[in-house]
Subunit: 349 residues, 2 copies
């Protein structure tokens, strides 16, 4: 799906520039770990395989580090101001993926085994903890007056992150419809916390470290949170209708696992005959088999769940842009942010 007509040409260049700026400090930070933690960190960051060999193409996009760098630049500072903040958010993101994969029982990520699958659950719990601790100490040692405020910013985001994960966890045991059903606005709150908090924190941290005023920090934080909700909406679309060749996940994977995602919740909350048929289908206990998952996908589409989710993504992208318009930002960094934000969300699946 295409969510924007903004030129994409330079988004990968922006990501590359930021990655190059941050990389030496990230390498230095990881190098302070116990050698075993450094090995699991290098694997989890996509730098190496399980045997320590280089693993080209396994890295993430580095979205959070880029937002930190652009946050500092947008606030009138230099990207270098943001480097320790960028390191911290990449480490926290990596920590959260490691622990999420344990919680969700996911066995693959970016076409490789997840850390718990490769090293065992206990070691993966510890590897995540080590990255969490390293993120805090990296930021706590940032020089200058912004360091303490940066730690507070990160700590707040961490609280929101685990809050969102608890919300998500509890959704599992709630009914699809009727009293206690998960409503679309609750899902949005979960996504804001779970996905949005760290994206918002990344951009805000850059601004904090560059000495920006509170209004700029807050606007960047809120913009990142809206990006997170849009990102989650697109992730949910891909989890149902994404091309397995592109997503690396089986088709209808979220539906088979009966995951409560926005398209399903939006469909179920619609006043449409397909919503009632979908409810009946989901109410039959156990994971869905292939034909049932295909049928569920059709019913979600028919009841408007797909359309509502695309609208949700668009709405939150627009809200993110509006946040950037509310405060004075350096022109070139603002342009880079406007290039990057839709690119992050616009993944063809």
């Amino acid at each position: 799906m295409t969510l924007s007509t903004t030129s994409r040409a330079s988004a990968p260049q922006i990501l590359d520039r930021c990655r190059e700026l941050v990389r030496p400090a990230l390498v230095e930070s990881v190098g302070r770990l116990h050698p075993w933690h450094a090995e699991t960190a290098a694997f989890s960051l996509g730098w190496t395989g399980t045997g320590g060999e280089p693993a080209p193409g396994s890295q993430g996009k580095g979205v959070r580090q880029a937002l930190a760098v652009l946050g500092a630049e947008a606030a009138g500072g230099s990207g270098a101001d943001a480097v320790l903040g960028a390191v911290a958010v990449e480490l926290i993101h990596t920590f959260s993926l490691i622990h999420d994969d344990i919680m969700d029982g996911d066995e693959t990520r970016r076409r490789r085994p997840t850390l718990w699958k490769a090293y065992g659950t206990g070691p993966a719990v510890l590897a995540g903890d080590a990255l969490f601790a390293l993120a805090v100490s990296t930021l706590a040692e940032a020089p200058g007056p912004g360091g303490a405020a940066a730690v507070r910013q990160l700590a707040g985001a961490l609280g929101d992150l685990v809050h969102g994960q608890a919300q998500d966890l509890l959704f599992e045991s709630r009914p699809w419809t009727g009293p206690g059903a998960v409503l679309p606005h609750e899902y949005r709150s979960m996504a804001t916390h779970k996905t949005g908090s760290l994206l918002g924190c990344a951009a805000a941290l850059g601004a904090v470290l560059a000495g920006a005023p509170a209004s700029t920090v807050e606007a960047l934080d809120l913009a990142g949170r809206h990006v997170g909700v849009a990102f989650q909406a697109v992730d949910d679309l891909l989890g149902i209708w994404g091309d397995p060749q592109v997503t690396g996940k089986p088709v209808h994977s979220d539906l088979r696992r009966l995951k409560k995602t926005y398209p399903v919740l939006a469909a179920l909350s619609a006043d449409h005959p397909a919503a009632r048929r979908l409810d009946a289908l989901l109410a039959s206990a156990g994971p869905l088999d292939d034909p049932a998952a295909r049928r569920a996908a059709e019913l979600i589409d028919e009841a408007g769940g797909r359309r509502a989710t695309v609208a949700e993504a668009h709405e939150h992208l627009a809200a993110a842009r509006a946040c950037l318009d509310r405060v004075p930002l350096a022109r070139s960094a603002r342009r880079d942010l406007l290039t990057l934000i839709p690119y992050l969300v616009d993944r063809t699946g």
Copy 2:
């Protein structure tokens, strides 16, 4: 075993006084969590059972919060200065127990199911993460100029803690003797990191928050680390010779699991025929059965492993006391520390 003749009478009173001082802030801090995290935190802190009912007698001793309070008082401040630091170290301690129990596969703690056993592994990973995040944010928001230094102190201890856990984890796959064997000094390094870092941090944090000079902070930190090594040595003795009625663990539990503890390593490194017989016994693969574990305990004793471990505990207690003599400390808090430290280590098993 009795490691000290210091009157114990007032150690429980010291612990009670510190617990009462810290408790309101700890309750307030836990109350900021998502309700589900607040429930798992209350369970893990021993406040409630799995159903939320009160659970008298399930609390830990509150050693770390007491060290924080006494650290502040020893540095000439008031116990109130230390409260947020005390909350942070108790939360970190609780987080580390939750994750340790997952890593070690331990099913009971303080005669109750461990959190992962009661709630599942994934939820327990998340519950630990939530306490970790809460500890950082609680301390990051501490008012006054000591807040930023306190966060740095905690971050350093967290790095050491996970370092020690990695050391411990890797011991498992190393041989008992010969090239690559774990030597007693490596075990001491592990205990300093894994057990000592947070005890040292607790006392140091109190001092930092009371505005103490670096020399006082360092002396308290080091004292706490020595206490940690002594504590670990006694824990190891109890893991072999402790009374199951008192420890709540099966007799010889560490031996059955082939855990590399100080008494075994000290025995194996002795030039004694019993050391060689012990090596042969341990080399026979698989966990030890009852008669083999009993025989191993006898051989460890015969080779001097038990005596060496008692000496190790005494030595580190003496070193802890020496640290307290190196810097000027408020008289009454110093006396409380000297009462508390041997009490913490002297557990009859």
